[in-house]
């Protein structure tokens, strides 16, 4: 779908992306992680055609120029910070309908699940909404479009827990779309993605693809020990088929290799009570 080769972007001679190479295949759901300044946002901007750069970005079915409208018609984008648009929400929604093929019916459903009523904020200037409302509108517009690549830059940062959960669910339902999600909180998107890419100083330092390691029946043995009995965690592990021992403080079971991120995402919610976690990867227990 997208082949990035030797992508370099410099600001004042300082490389923010430094010879980055990457391919994004249809169906890839990628969590893009990395510390501040690692190059995540710059990579997005290069993909969207916002930046001049060295190296090549080949976009499937798109013209070779830096910015291609046909490619952008297949891409939905939510920026890290909501833009201070002065237009009313209704105008933004109409712009997305007329200019990007967004569907009002779909947008109404998405907005409803995120907990915002489009009609209620229709005439309100976008910039006067709260941070969470702005994010919900941007997500609504993005998910209201029939696209095959979604680029989200910290999309859930301003969302309340309910909306965040609904957002993750809706992304999971978009099985046909590829995703590139930048997040500082891997646990938030872990259950959604099948590939994790870590950037550091403009280079790919980790490209962990579940798909590569996925084999039918490939299971990982896992042991979890918690500080004290905790009923919700015990229930969550039971749903994964784990057996409890030592007074409901020691759990063991197996997880499918493909569900690795999703499992770790679930465990991370109880991070404060976990004393020990081991996942057997390829016969070597990592602790």
């Amino acid at each position: 779908m997208i082949a990035i080769e030797n992508l370099t972007k410099r600001f004042d001679k300082r490389p923010v992306l430094d010879g980055l190479s990457l391919t994004i295949a249809p169906g890839d759901r990628i969590a893009l992680i990395g510390s501040n300044g690692a190059g995540k946002t710059t990579l997005f901007r290069c993909l969207l055609g916002h930046y001049r750069h060295e190296g090549a970005i080949a976009r499937d079915g798109a013209a070779p120029q830096r910015r291609d409208s046909l490619f952008l018609s297949r891409v939905a984008f939510v920026p890290q910070l909501p833009p201070p648009l002065r237009m009313p929400v209704g105008e933004l929604v109409n712009f997305a309908i007329r200019g990007a093929g967004a569907d009002r019916v779909v947008m109404d459903k998405v907005a409803g699940r995120l907990g915002i009523d489009l009609d209620a904020v229709w005439r309100q200037p976008f910039y006067r909404l709260s941070g969470g409302q702005k994010q919900k509108i941007l997500v609504t517009v993005a998910l209201g479009r029939p696209v095959d690549l979604m680029i989200f830059d910290e999309p859930a940062a301003n969302l309340d827990p309910g909306a965040r959960s609904a957002f993750i669910d809706m992304l999971a339902e978009r099985a046909e779309a590829s995703m590139l999600i930048a997040s500082h909180r891997l646990e938030e998107v872990a259950q959604l993605v099948n590939r994790v890419i870590e950037l550091d100083r403009g280079r790919v330092v980790l490209d962990d693809s579940v798909v590569d390691r996925l084999k039918a029946g490939d299971m990982r043995r896992c042991v979890v020990r918690i500080r004290e009995p905790h009923l919700p965690f015990a229930r969550a592990l039971a749903s994964w088929g784990f057996a409890a021992a030592a007074g409901d403080t020691l759990f063991s079971g197996s997880i499918p290799a493909a569900e690795n991120f999703r499992f770790l995402g679930m465990v991370s919610r109880y991070g404060s009570i976990v004393e020990h976690l081991s996942v057997d990867a390829g016969g070597i227990a990592r602790q």
């Binding site: 901007r45 969207l48 055609g49 916002h50 930046y51 001049r52 910015r67 409208s69 046909l70 490619f71 952008l72 018609s73 297949r74 891409v75 984008f77 920026p79 910070l81 833009p83 201070p84 648009l85 002065r86 237009m87 209704g90 105008e91 929604v93 109409n94 712009f95 997305a96 309908i97 007329r98 200019g99 990007a100 093929g101 569907d103 009002r104 019916v105 779909v106 009609d119 229709w122 941007l138 029939p146 696209v147 680029i151």
Partner: protein, 289 residues
């Protein structure tokens, strides 16, 4: 409110994108304070001039609606370019700084359609209040029983459009070139001051003081869109250019009345479009956000 059941990908890289961009710019500008203030100033000024009875006064032979229009257009020349430059120079660079450009340009709208849509939308909005004020003056003159010089009203509207196109192009050029709003505003003020400084009186004093070749002075006067606008607005009501003095011989001998009016319409428009093209070229070649 729209309700669509369609689920197709729609792109507007061509004409549709341009119409969408114009529409967006019109809506955006009509909401903004600069436009409200701008429209109030230019329409209010005409109302003020009409109500103060300036059309009844007689100065250098001008009276009636002609007197009203001449006064209005001279004030327009001083204020309109500054207004346009200051508001336009910060448009692209301001959107870029605020982060709006990053979001809006992620939509599948052609870059050319985006840029030229903004340009055309602004052109319509900057001309509209002045044209409305001129129309008001004509109707006011009719109501008072004055003869309405419709051809002059039309030519003034065309001259204002040419001047607006010129400074819009310059504003978009500066906005496309600048990396910060402050720089764009600073340069636009410098440009306006330079052009205002090179108007005929100052130019004459430079000529006398420094003994520059007269042809160069005439060339500067002809190239300065403020000066061409000013002279053309005078020539419409004073075809002998008595107000201008000896310099009028150069204009009348070289161009004639019609030729100069055509020059005053074509040159600023061409200059504005050239600057806008340069601005677009720079904008599209560099980092967009």
């Amino acid at each position: 409110m729209p309700a669509s059941g369609q689920n197709t990908i729609v792109t507007y890289p061509g004409g549709g994108g341009l119409a969408l961009s114009i529409r967006l710019e019109l809506q955006e500008s009509m909401r903004s304070r600069w436009f409200h203030f701008y429209a109030a100033v230019f329409f209010g000024l005409m109302v003020l001039l009409a109500l103060t009875g300036i059309s009844e006064s007689r100065v250098l032979g001008f009276t009636g609606l002609s007197r009203l229009l001449v006064t209005y257009i001279q004030i327009t020349m001083a204020v309109l370019p500054l207004f346009i430059l200051v508001t336009t120079a910060r448009s692209l660079v301001g959107d870029r700084e605020a982060g709006s450009l990053e979001y809006m340009l992620a939509f599948p709208i052609g870059l050319g359609a985006w840029f030229w849509g903004k340009f055309l939308g602004r052109l319509v909005l900057t001309v509209a209040p002045v044209a409305a004020a001129l129309l008001f003056a004509a109707l006011y003159g009719l109501a008072l029983g004055h003869g309405v010089p419709w051809i002059h009203v039309a030519l003034y509207s065309a001259l204002v459009t040419a001047l607006a196109a010129c400074f819009l192009g310059l504003g978009f050029f500066l906005s496309g070139m600048s990396r910060s709003t402050e720089i764009a505003l600073g340069i636009s003020l410098m440009v306006w001051l330079t052009m205002a400084a090179l108007l005929d009186l100052l130019l004459l004093s430079v000529l006398i003081k420094t003994q520059i070749h007269p042809d160069l002075v005439v060339a500067i006067a002809l190239a300065n869109p403020l000066q061409t606008f000013r002279t053309a607005s005078m020539i419409l009501f004073d075809p002998q250019l008595i107000l201008l003095g000896p310099a009028s011989y150069v204009i009348l001998d070289t161009f004639g009345v019609t030729g100069y009016v055509v020059w005053a319409l074509v040159w600023p428009t061409a200059l504005g479009l050239a600057f806008a093209l340069l601005g677009y070229w720079r904008f599209s070649r560099g980092d967009l956000v």
